[in-house]
């Protein structure tokens, strides 16, 4: 088993302008300017960030079938710290040093307080188990996001050029070029090449 150490950088940063963290056919994640950030390092190389600012998630968790569409879109303001792994270089160009006002605007009295909160999130993410790999967040392998939800657990979104996986409290959504699966507490629907299967049951 190979183990790698992920850790946070020692310095906090902030977005100098609005960041488009993800834009795909089904999902958009944007963060406002002045969003605080701290790089996540692996062997002293930036592999991602923990952000805290005003961000927005738009995600179409809709399955189209011949019988009509099922599901809806997720439209969520993210005002809690969230984690992102992947595609760091482009983002780095839009990051600069924060001042005290940037930190106080997000409710922190100093940089240490922000770093401690970011560290908590990284630990929580690490505790999810042995599912994360180096390969998944480098080059063209895709991007991972982790957002704390109302229960304090993490909603996970993984996206690469053609696939998307979203696992949240109330739904699991998986989309590839030809297949889409949506599972909610009440129903499950699979759509593949114009064929679809829907199971609606009190046990789902």
């Amino acid at each position: 088993m190979m183990l790698q150490q992920y850790r946070l950088d020692n310095t906090a940063l902030k977005a100098t302008d609005a960041l488009k963290l993800l834009q795909s056919e089904r999902a958009i994640i944007e963060a406002d300017g002045n969003t605080l950030a701290v790089p996540i390092l692996l062997d002293n190389q930036r592999k991602g960030y923990i952000f805290h600012g005003h961000a927005k998630l738009l995600l179409d968790t809709i399955v189209e079938t011949k019988e009509g569409a099922m599901g809806n879109s997720v439209e969520r303001e993210i005002n809690e710290p969230f984690l992102m792994l992947g595609d760091t270089e482009e983002i780095l160009q839009h990051l600069g040093a924060p001042n005290k006002e940037d930190l106080t605007a997000m409710g922190y009295k100093d940089e240490q307080e922000f770093m401690a909160k970011a560290e908590d999130l990284l630990h929580k993410f690490g505790r999810r188990g042995k599912i994360w790999g180096h390969d998944c967040c480098s080059g063209n392998y895709g991007i991972i996001f982790a957002f704390p939800n109302e229960t304090g657990k993490l909603d996970i979104l993984i996206a690469d050029c053609s696939r998307l996986v979203y696992k949240a409290m109330d739904r699991v959504f998986i989309a590839s070029k030809s297949k889409v699966i949506l599972k909610t507490p009440n129903e499950m629907i699979l759509s593949s090449n114009q064929k679809s299967l829907m199971i609606r049951n009190r046990h789902l």
Binding site: M1, M2, L3, Q4, Q5, Y6, R7, S24, E25, R26, A27, I28, L58, L59, D60, I62, E64, T65, E67, G68, A69, M70, G71, N72, S73, V74, E75, L122, H123, F125, G126, K130, I131, W132, G133, H134, D135, C136, C137, Y141, G142, I144, I156, I158, R163, V165, K167, V172, I174, I181, K183, M188, L190, L197, I199, N201, H203, L204
Partner: protein, 185 residues
């Protein structure tokens, strides 16, 4: 004990000692600060886990009896009576009224008629429904969305007819067909 066996035991002892050493290294690493993540498994495994949980759910459901009759396929849980008691559901007249009034407008029916052929952007709908302004079209779409007959993809912006929307549209056409035939008789 033969020399061969003694040699074998010696090798095994060496191997155990090596493994112990490796285990000590990992434990030492864990004691220092940082998050350790098993990179032997990549994101594909995570996706597979999620897929597995979804397919397990499907298998669980399909393990129950599948009844095929004149009305189509019906899945019944094992141990449950094959035909459940019909439940008399109190009609939610306010919701019924909302859905029916969403259907009760010519443009809205035309919108559903267009969307039943496939998802469309608002400008495509405007082209198809000649003589309608963008703001009027938006307000009709909002009514249909609120009634749950149409859903908009927030990322792409396309409008799609929902399953209930499709049923409602077909039902409206069918009722009209009955009424027309009735008035001719």
């Amino acid at each position: 004990m033969s020399d061969e066996m003694k040699e074998e035991i010696k090798k095994l002892r060496e191997e155990i000692a090596n493994l112990k050493e490796q285990l000590m290294d990992v434990t030492e690493q864990k004691k220092s600060r940082g998050i350790y993540i098993d990179i032997g498994n990549n994101v594909r495994h995570y996706v597979e886990d999620v897929m597995e949980s979804v397919t397990e759910g499907i298998h669980g459901e399909l393990e129950r009896c599948i009844l095929i009759g004149p009305k189509g396929m019906r899945i019944v849980r094992r141990g449950e009576p094959q035909r459940e008691e019909e439940h008399v559901v109190e009609a939610n007249f306010s919701k019924v009224s909302e859905v029916m009034s969403a259907l009760g407008q010519e443009y809205r029916l035309k919108i559903l008629g267009e969307l039943i052929r496939g998802g469309k952007y608002i400008n495509e709908l405007q082209e198809k429904l000649s003589g309608i302004t963008a703001s009027t079209l938006s307000s009709h779409l909002k009514v249909l969305e609120e009634a749950g007959l149409v859903v908009q993809e927030k990322v792409r912006g396309r409008y799609l007819i929902t399953m209930p929307g499709r049923v409602a549209y077909k039902m409206a056409l069918r009722i009209t067909g009955f009424v027309e035939r009735g008035s001719q008789e």
